[in-house]
């Protein structure tokens, strides 16, 4: 009876445990998964042992007519108890050793290679990645096989850059830098999450990591992304998406964390302090650089300042103008 109960449980765990791990997209993923597998099997063994013994004892030693008293057995047995203190101790030390060896590989950059250094900035509620050469983007662009170093910072509260497929995570703490070092090994697009709770849209603070198959593909992306190459309007559209504006300001008229961009240009806005203001170029500039200066009534003062280059600003304003005037 016990085996009939345990088998499906074990089978389910097998399929679901390590089988649930996402893709291994970074150099550290394999060693992490090896440690995961080791601990998984170890714990499964002990869990099975505990459950099996419990079930066995309950069935065998259940009180029933003819068995109202326990059989004589020792009330302690020091050698046995030392044994089941010693074995777990030895095993957790092995776990510690195995895991720490893998971990040391996760925190030290590979020496001697030219790493791709990306500055990562977390803010409510989007990520921003400054790639070498000045290309900023809301996506993280990497090259398969090229060692990468991320330097994390935050402009407001603690965020945490989480790349499940890379088996990596690091908090971005305001007031200091933190670092990650790894090498992506699979080309493709992988999700990025924020893993440290940071407010209203914490769960929407997502991004993607685009791993280019080779340096040439990365370089092509970097050139195409250069600001000079774009028309003012395209640049504006790109800025709105890339700087994370659209996370809070919709394009369809629905108010979200902030007012929708649709129909914003030229509108008379009621402010939180009771006055009102016409949405013109000056107002937009001020609101982008100093969002707290004039907050629209009905919305919280939560927007971080978004420092834009002059051409980006012009493009952004041009983009807003295309979204229609107030009726």
């Amino acid at each position: 009876m016990t085996s009939r109960l345990l088998e499906p449980l074990a089978a389910a765990l097998l399929a679901a445990g390590p089988g649930y791990l996402p893709e291994r997209a970074s150099s550290v993923a394999e060693s992490v998964d090896r440690v995961f597998g080791f601990i998984f099997w170890l714990s499964l063994f002990f869990l099975a042992l505990i459950l099996a013994l419990t079930a066995l004892f309950v069935v065998r030693y259940r009180a029933r007519p003819g068995r109202t008293e326990p059989e004589p057995s020792p009330s302690h047995h020091s050698r046995l108890e030392l044994l089941w203190s010693g074995i777990p101790l030895a095993l957790v030390m092995v776990v510690f050793a195995v895991s720490t060896v893998a971990w040391l590989g996760m925190i030290e950059p590979e020496a001697g290679k030219d790493p791709l250094r990306v500055q990562v900035t977390g803010r409510k509620w989007s990520w921003w990645f400054d790639h070498p050469g000045g290309q900023g983007a809301a996506e993280l662009h990497l090259v398969a096989g090229r060692p990468t170093e991320l330097v994390l910072a935050s402009t407001d509260v603690i965020h945490s850059l989480y790349l499940p497929d890379f088996r990596l995570k690091q908090d971005a703490v305001p007031g200091r830098f933190t670092r990650m070092a790894f090498t992506p090994i699979l080309a493709g697009t992988f999700p990025i999450y924020c893993a440290e709770y940071c407010g209203t849209d914490h769960s929407r603070m997502t991004a993607s990591a685009v791993v280019h198959p080779d340096q040439a593909s990365y370089d092509a992306w970097a050139r195409q992304g250069a600001a000079e190459a774009l028309s003012l309007l395209d640049l504006g559209r790109k800025v709105a998406a890339a700087k994370g504006c659209l996370a809070c300001h919709s394009l369809d008229g629905a108010p979200r964390v902030g007012p929708s961009f649709k129909g914003l240009w030229g509108r008379e806005e009621k402010l939180a302090d009771g006055t009102s203001v016409r949405v013109d170029e000056n107002y937009l500039r001020e609101s982008v650089l100093k969002p707290g200066a004039k907050v629209v009534a009905g919305f919280a003062n939560v927007m971080p300042p978004v420092p834009l280059e002059e051409r980006e600003m012009q493009g952004f304003i041009a983009f807003l103008q295309t979204l229609g005037n107030a009726p």
């Binding site: 910072a153 007031g175 200091r176 830098f177 933190t178 670092r179």
Partner: protein, 121 residues
């Protein structure tokens, strides 16, 4: 800390003769504390760099031990009270020690960020 819910009136319980500390122990302890206070002021006048802190804390530790041992008659009480007190001091030192150690480790990252913020301004 004590209850006096018992309504029965009566003289303070008899039969229990407490052990009072001799006057000279109390006065001696106080005198030592005064002297050590002077000593801590004196050592702080001598420039010894980081060692100043060590000296000040050592003297303070010595003074605190005197207070605990004699004024708080820890020396004359059951061992358990000393264990309680030592345990609390141990954990407080653990907290201070570990946290200070950890934060000094990542200070360079804080300084770098501060430098960048200043440069931007």
């Amino acid at each position: 800390m004590t209850d006096r819910t018992a309504p029965t009136a009566g003289p303070p319980g008899a039969g229990h003769r407490p052990h009072a500390l001799p006057a000279r122990v109390l006065l001696g302890t106080a005198a030592a504390l005064f002297v050590l206070t002077a000593a801590t002021v004196a050592t702080s006048r001598v420039e010894m760099g980081a060692f100043n802190v060590v000296a000040a804390l050592s003297i303070a530790g010595l003074k605190a031990s005197l207070v605990a041992l004699f004024f708080m008659h820890l020396r004359y009480q059951g061992r358990f009270k000393a264990v309680v007190f030592a345990t609390s001091v141990f954990f407080a030192v653990l907290l201070v020690g570990f946290v200070v150690f950890d934060t000094t480790q990542y200070q360079p990252d804080i300084r770098a960020q501060a430098a960048r913020t200043r440069a931007k301004r």
